[in-house]
């Protein structure tokens, strides 16, 4: 597969009367964008621009999109989500705005949890308030190593939507996501017919004389919570359901075939479309590796038999396409770790070298192993650390992500993040964006 990507770098975003990109300056008309957002069932919204280095904090965020558009080659970027066409992507040419994120923020301040919601999650109690504790800090040492947050380097156009209480939670999220996609589409449209200053060509013509490498991400499915046709969480061509592994070309990943955030999953569309493993392998394709593709694996199956089946299928697929090595990642761990380990073991047994790229568990002062458990076949490991951030987050001047004024406590200092699994987290580096890691002492 061959994809040309035209990048329009952005070095500043200004709010004005036009929708234009001039030599690195993106001008946006907030009113025009708000008109796109405030559509049934959404009644109230706000759009704000936050810049890298600002003393600002983005809260309530569920997903981050990159403004992108297909210029040729068929399909629509971010296929399948929010009712978008599911036609295959990854060919022809796409244009993107570099260094821009469009942030989906769902402001649930007015929401009282409904009984329907609590049944969705099967938890006790009639009422359950969903709390989104994630945030993005745009300045301070937290944007540097070791708390690498890729979003802090972006000009973030935050679309804050007041959760429409006329619909249930999953629908609220979907409405916010659709609105955010409308904004991202409109922004990308600005540069659709312009000549990009920079065009990269990604051509994955097989290079059989080089070692074949495949990338196998494990993505938790929200099906156990939302059902097979749910719209919440990470999706492949819009499918959130538990499914057999998908073989995708790296160019499909770049065109957003895998995306979707949601408060619990910790990943985001922007990251998946600018995936550090995919981009690194892409850059090296034809030089020292033969990048064969991505095998997208789902987790959250209900028993071991199901996990074993898809693990074997993923290994089989990797073997079929000639993989000599596989890089394996996962997102949410817990019981889903079983799937990751089974895939790894199945690959190794098929003669494929595996590298497990993962965050690790809290060391508990030497009392706890770094991985929940590991098969005998585990050899190559790269650690992204535990997700801990040892220092508190400094107070900020500006908090974005709400429609009315943000609660006072978000302006103040926020505590350091301990790496214990299950702790409320800021950002999980599933895919090795940063240089933070852990080591034995």
């Amino acid at each position: 597969m061959r994809l040309e990507v035209g990048t329009f770098p952005v070095r500043d975003v200004v709010v004005g009367k036009r929708m234009a990109w001039d030599d690195g300056v993106l001008e946006i008309d907030v009113n025009e964008l708000l008109d796109l957002v405030v559509q049934d069932p959404i009644e109230k919204a706000k759009i704000e621009v936050v810049k890298p280095g600002e003393s600002a904090r983005i809260i309530n965020y569920e997903d981050v999109l990159e403004p992108k558009v297909k210029v040729s080659g068929g399909g629509t970027v971010y296929p399948g989500v929010c009712g978008r066409p599911t036609d295959s992507v990854g060919e022809g040419r796409s244009h993107r705005l570099g260094s821009v994120g469009v942030v989906q923020c769902l402001d649930t301040a007015n929401v009282e949890a409904s009984v329907a919601d609590s049944r969705l999650w099967g938890r006790g109690g009639e009422k359950e308030v969903r709390v989104n504790s994630r945030f993005i800090d745009m300045s301070g040492e937290k944007t540097e190593i070791p708390a690498a947050t890729p979003y802090a380097q972006l000009f973030n156009i935050c679309v804050s939507v007041e959760a429409p209480t006329s619909v249930a939670f999953e629908e609220q999220s979907r409405a916010a996501a659709s609105a955010t996609h409308r904004v991202a589409d409109r922004l990308a449209e600005i540069v659709k017919d312009l000549e990009p200053p920079d065009v990269e060509v990604f051509d994955f013509e097989p290079k059989d004389d080089l070692p074949g490498v495949v990338y196998i991400p494990h993505l938790a499915s929200a099906e156990p919570q939302s059902g097979a046709r749910g719209t919440y969480g990470t999706a492949v061509y819009g499918q959130t359901r538990l499914s057999a592994p998908w073989l995708l070309s790296p160019t499909e990943m770049m065109d957003g075939a895998v995306g979707g955030g949601g408060a619990s999953w910790g990943g985001a569309t922007w990251i998946l479309a600018n995936h550090p493993v995919v981009m690194n392998l892409a850059e090296r394709h034809g030089k020292d590796v033969n990048f064969l593709g991505c095998i997208v694996q789902r987790t959250n199956w209900t028993n071991q038999g199901e996990y074993t089946l898809v693990a074997d299928r993923a290994a089989w697929t990797a073997k079929m396409i000639g993989a000599k090595s596989a890089i394996i990642t996962t997102d949410v761990r817990g019981q889903r770790w079983v799937g990751t380990m089974l895939t790894l073991a199945a690959c190794e047994r098929s003669g494929i070298n595996t590298v497990l790229l993962t965050e690790e568990e809290d060391n508990e002062n030497g009392n706890s192993p770094p991985l929940l458990f590991s098969p005998a076949e585990l050899r190559g490991t790269v650690s992204n650390g535990t997700g801990d951030v040892p220092e508190p987050f400094s107070p900020v001047s500006r908090v974005v992500g709400t429609v009315e004024a943000a609660p006072q406590e978000w302006y103040g200092e926020l505590p350091a993040v301990h790496g214990a699994y299950g702790a409320g987290v800021v950002y999980r580096d599933f895919y090795g964006f940063g240089r933070q890691s852990y080591a034995d002492f």
């Binding site: 919570q225 002062n365 030497g366 192993p369 790269v382 992204n384 535990t386 890691s437 852990y438």
Partner: protein
């Protein structure tokens, strides 16, 4: 006439005084039964210590060597360690180097004890041995051990590595992680910043493995501490069986606030005397990691097979089901918390005369 008087000058302040411990074999003392020789101290370097002294060069010298028989040292531990302390007090070294012991278990233990004695006196110490030598863990986390193979032909290289680590320890500089500074890890892991992002390191590693090149994994597999299997039950009909679920089954409404995130993990228990089956609607699952719909709205007994066990109890297959069942929320539970709860519950069960537990986990 001049009389040449040779002074024993004190070494320069920056020149390190090193005390070396070796066993009788490497010290070239005695034959087979030298294993049983008691600890003695000699000035200067002996055996591989000469190599160490040479490598130190201007940085220091081996001022004394303590030698012991491997058997003697370990069998007469107090006396031997006492002799080591005497030597340390006499020579006041800045650094102690012990071994390397390679794969000799008793030698390894002796080295560990020497390092332990040095540590108690605030003197940095380093040793070397294979990673599964008993001496490695003898002092818990306090000993720095350079990993070696079992081949004495590697002596020169190992002495060099031990010296380097020793110099760093003696300098007071903070040590880097175990791979970087060449010592066996102590089971602790801390955050570091590496040169390249994780994704790039992963691609590098994938390529190296494909080309058959050696790699250094960033996470070494470590097992939990395994316990031996308890002996099987001999007489089931005389056995009281308790039930424990990690699905967080609690009375509806969760009166004890189980799994609410406030405070440390806890276990709760509820009386089931006379209860043949958990009644639908009276119980719920507060587990955070899966959808509790089945347990809450279809059958809570899926979480602990109470009706089945009651039937077996009625038939005399087991003596009885314990009066209380235990409930834990398994989701995201730290290992330490799990261990503590396990110990607590086990103690309680033993006290109550329970011989077996069926633990239902999701």
């Amino acid at each position: 006439m001049f009389a040449l008087t040779i002074f024993r000058t004190d070494p320069m302040a920056s020149e390190l005084k090193v005390l070396h411990y070796i066993n009788q074999f490497f010290g070239g003392i005695g034959g087979e039964d030298a294993n049983d020789l008691p600890v003695e101290t000699r000035e200067g370097a002996l055996g591989p210590g000469r190599l160490l002294d040479q490598k130190l060069g201007d940085r220091g010298s081996v001022v004394a060597t303590v030698i012991g028989g491997d058997n003697y040292f370990v069998e007469e531990e107090d006396e031997s360690v006492g002799k080591v302390r005497e030597a340390l007090e006499r020579f006041k070294p800045d650094l102690v180097v012990a071994g390397p012991a390679f794969d000799a278990g008793r030698y390894g233990m002796a080295c560990a004890l020497v390092c332990g004695a040095a540590g108690e006196m605030g003197i940095p110490a380093v040793t070397g041995m294979v990673d599964d030598n008993a001496g490695v863990l003898a002092n818990g986390r306090d000993t720095y051990v350079v990993p070696t193979g079992d081949n004495p032909a590697d002596m020169a290289g190992i002495i060099d590595r031990m010296m380097r680590l020793g110099l760093k320890l003696a300098s007071g500089d903070e040590l880097n992680h175990a791979d970087a500074d060449d010592y066996l890890p102590h089971g602790l892991r801390h955050g570091i910043v590496r040169e390249k992002p994780g994704a790039e390191r992963a691609v590098d590693m994938a390529l190296a493995m494909a080309l058959g090149q050696p790699i250094t994994p960033e996470i070494k597999v470590r097992q939990y501490d395994f316990v031996p299997a308890p002996a099987p039950i001999q007489n089931l009909a005389e056995t009281t069986v308790a039930l424990l679920t990690t699905a967080g089954i609690v009375p509806k409404g969760n009166p004890d606030g189980q799994g609410d995130g406030a405070g440390p993990r806890k276990w709760v228990s509820y009386n089931i005397d006379g209860v043949n089956a958990l009644t639908l609607g009276e119980w719920e699952s507060v587990h955070s990691g899966f959808k509790g719909y089945m347990y809450n709205s279809v059958n809570p007994n899926y979480a602990l097979p109470l009706p089945a066990l009651r039937a077996l109890e009625a038939l005399g297959v087991i003596k009885r089901i314990h009066s209380e069942f235990f409930s834990i929320v398994g989701g995201g539970c730290p290992v330490t918390a799990a261990q503590n709860m396990g110990r607590d519950i086990a103690k309680r069960l033993v006290n109550d005369g329970v011989q077996a537990v069926i633990l239902e986990s999701t």
